[in-house]
Symmetry: D2
Subunit: 290 residues, 4 copies
């Protein structure tokens, strides 16, 4: 069943200390498999003496099995070159879990991309601390897990969340205006696989009610920031930012409304970049092959 086995594309994200002939070795590896490179991008950070690349190839004519190819990659490329790497086979939709509270706009921005086939991804489940969006989940036939959280049950609910994530083989978690602190228990096993949206131009206005703060300062621009979640709240590697010009005529509700659109856009852009394997996290910042 050659055809089925080698359907989809491979995407490699890799980084390593700068050394000679990296690009040559990586591309040669693909040519030796009789595969065809369909996209290649790299970035050499001369100051840090570090190399980053994204290589996408079509394995339709691959001349060995996937296992053999992988073994060869490890032995001939990754280990000798001291590569940090991530290889994804795009032969099935990525499995997403979305955490929500009450906000619909951000969830729809994600669902539209999945439903329309613009993303090769499915939302496998929605987890919420509130019941409000259950009907919308039902509309899209997505299992909705209402796990209310209070002071006493947080650890227990997180245990159940983790179970759901693992049982459903979730590959990416999206915090879509989930108004709860997610703890290390979830963050640790999903490092660089949890995307959060922050309702302002981080690092400005990192506290509560950022639009009220922005209005009080009379800012002339508002923004939204999507980032990978780390245990340092609002401090994780930034993926995408959106910004819009405003003036004094914008009331707080108008800022919130405008901000909601910016947030939904910045979140969807970040998730799309992750789904398409376009992000490497390195030293707390992202290299985005966009």
């Amino acid at each position: 069943m050659m055809v089925q086995k080698h359907s989809g594309h491979y995407v490699l994200l890799a980084s390593c200390p700068f050394q000679k002939r990296i690009a040559a070795k990586l591309t040669q590896f693909v040519y030796d498999l009789s595969s065809e490179i369909v996209d290649y991008d790299q970035y050499a950070d001369i100051a840090d003496n570090h190399f980053y690349c994204r290589m996408e190839w079509n394995p339709a004519a691959q001349n060995i099995s996937d296992d053999e190819a992988l073994t060869r990659f490890r032995e001939e490329i990754a280990e000798p070159m001291n590569l940090r790497w991530n290889l994804r086979r795009n032969d099935r939709p990525l499995r997403l879990a979305v955490f929500v509270t009450r906000e619909l706009a951000h969830l729809y921005a994600l669902m539209m991309k999945c439903v329309s086939g613009l993303w090769d991804a499915n939302i496998e489940l929605i987890i919420s601390n509130h019941p409000d969006l259950a009907d919308e989940a039902a509309r899209f036939n997505i299992p909705y897990h209402h796990l209310p959280i209070d002071k006493d049950n947080k650890a227990e609910q997180e245990r159940r969340q983790l179970e759901l994530l693992q049982d459903n083989e979730i590959e990416l978690i999206v915090l879509s205006r989930y108004m709860q602190v997610v703890t290390e228990k979830i963050i640790a096993p999903y490092e660089n696989r949890i995307i959060n949206i922050h309702h302002s131009m981080l690092p400005a206005f990192s506290g509560a009610k950022p639009y009220h703060q922005a209005h009080a300062r009379g800012v002339k621009l508002i923004g939204a920031t999507s980032h990978y979640l780390t245990s340092q709240l609002d401090e994780g590697p930034i993926i995408a930012q959106e910004v819009k010009v405003v003036d004094h005529r914008k009331t707080v509700p108008a800022l919130i409304s405008l901000g909601r659109d910016l947030e939904a856009n910045a979140l969807a852009r970040a998730v799309g970049l992750h789904i398409n394997s376009r992000i490497i996290v390195s030293n707390g910042r992202t290299i985005v092959f966009d």
Copy 2:
């Protein structure tokens, strides 16, 4: 000498608690002078129950003297309406002082506007804590005052600065990357008449080396903020902000270079808005009639 006396335009900036017929009373006042309104803009902040307006008129056919007109305005309009107001007669260039250290880009952005006649303003003097830009001042025949500052002489030098500002009847001070803290001694007499530029999107990265901070966080946007100086450093009312998309490829020097252009633009925009009497400061924020 009617013609000369009534040359130029008047610009009124005014604000007051919302009350009936404000706009009608203000415009009627101008009509009663036989003057012609050339621009009118207003903003009603319903939430704060406050009214703001900018009215510009041509007094060419004014039927009474300026003193009489002013007296009438005070008595019939300003006092009964409890107006906070500022009236400027644009019949001569506004008198600017620019404080610099070593950065030329921002100063040139200001000088170009003055030299070309795009602004109705002159740079009357340049004050610096360094000698570096003296030749450039000479190129434009602008007096350059080198007042080096160290721990011991700060108060004395500020006294001399203040003297220069007063002797030259300075109306607006521009801190054009002046790398010294300006104290209350200067700020108090020039409230809302000192414009500063901050090399980032305030309130983010308010400390030192903001471009290094921005690079380390891997931001996807950088910005610059111009604001009126208050004794709360970097906390004054924001006037104009500029922003630019960046990616991981931008090194710190590239960010600094891009940031310099944004800063120069944001500073020049703010100064231009002030020169054209387009800014009202109210409760720590600006109303900009742009």
Copy 3:
């Protein structure tokens, strides 16, 4: 049934040649009804000697019937002032029809706003020349009318479209990437009530495959423009525009993908502005009270 009768807000959009005391008369009218102004914005175009305003008020305590109020407005305000005006009572959702072909992204941007209650509007029906989006319409319980169009049946199908629009008392038509020319038969009865979306680039590429053209020219920005449809295709009054920075790395599919998001955003912004009665069309341009 006072409460029901005077629920919702009123929004007045009005314009007229500049004359004395316009704002005073308009606001006084509302005060005389014992109603409360909740938003007021105006724009005086001095060059054209024209006045535009938007006034929103809460009629909860209105002291006369709606009919009486309307009559009084006509007689005392609109006629003597030679007002062009539009008054909307926001006491029920605005009735929308959406025309689509195959593109889902734009439709979802509209549906999300309706479903979530962010807009006070309902999509009453979807009309399409293709069957593709019928399932999505069903998901949202929106009647879907598949009216395929060919050379021979265009006039007949437009007659049926018009019938559907009238039978459903449609107040706003949204062309959501509807890939057919809409003729005067539909445009005339819905003047300034049909919103279209158009990709747009700098420079403009008016022919087919604009993103291919943009790629070939190596543009550094791509954009989208929403506008009211007129019989001059793509020449109607512009409502909202979106733009994004791109570089040579963006392939044609990447430009199309980015453009789709810009278009959906620009379309949704325009429709939202219309729904909230924030647009006056005057001399082929829009005054947007945003």
Copy 4:
């Protein structure tokens, strides 16, 4: 005189059909000279099967003469790889000529960068069809050639322009709002070395008075485009674009003023990119290593 001979940096811009080990061969060439790579960026256009790169290196420790290095590069790299390439030694300022008519803002944007040392370039001469800016040229000690153009003398004046350009060994021509058509006589010998600035709006207004047209259409964005001049007026490869949000409140003079700043910025950005050897022109579009 090793030190002097190998001062400055080398910058190579190169493109070729995609082939194996391009990056490896290029970087190896530099290593073999005992030189140090200080910047490297590349772009592989998979769709066109084409490779582009920019490599910058420090020849301080170069172990052979420049002539030998160049010969070796030609024989071992450029010819066998079928490279289109451009190598610049940044050991002296690039020689610019600026063509102006009456607009000062754009010229100042260029002069500031040269005077301040931010660009490694000098304006060697200014050519104008008007005398207006002669005093400004004098202020900066730049020779100013007033060559008025009418129907009868155009060919003759272009001959003199060309003579001036050649006598002064000009490497880059900047059309800084030069309101004359430049013909093939100048364009041909300076292919991809003449940079022009063009206002540009969405949609494009190609005729006269574009800002009046933009105002009449009520555009919500205005922009500016810098590009290399080709014989197809305003159709040359785009280098940089700037855009700004506007609304109906902006009068035509306000649009012109804002547009002037955008144009000056877009022009200066383009010229800076060229001076730093960051642009490859290929098939009518630019690859910008920014």
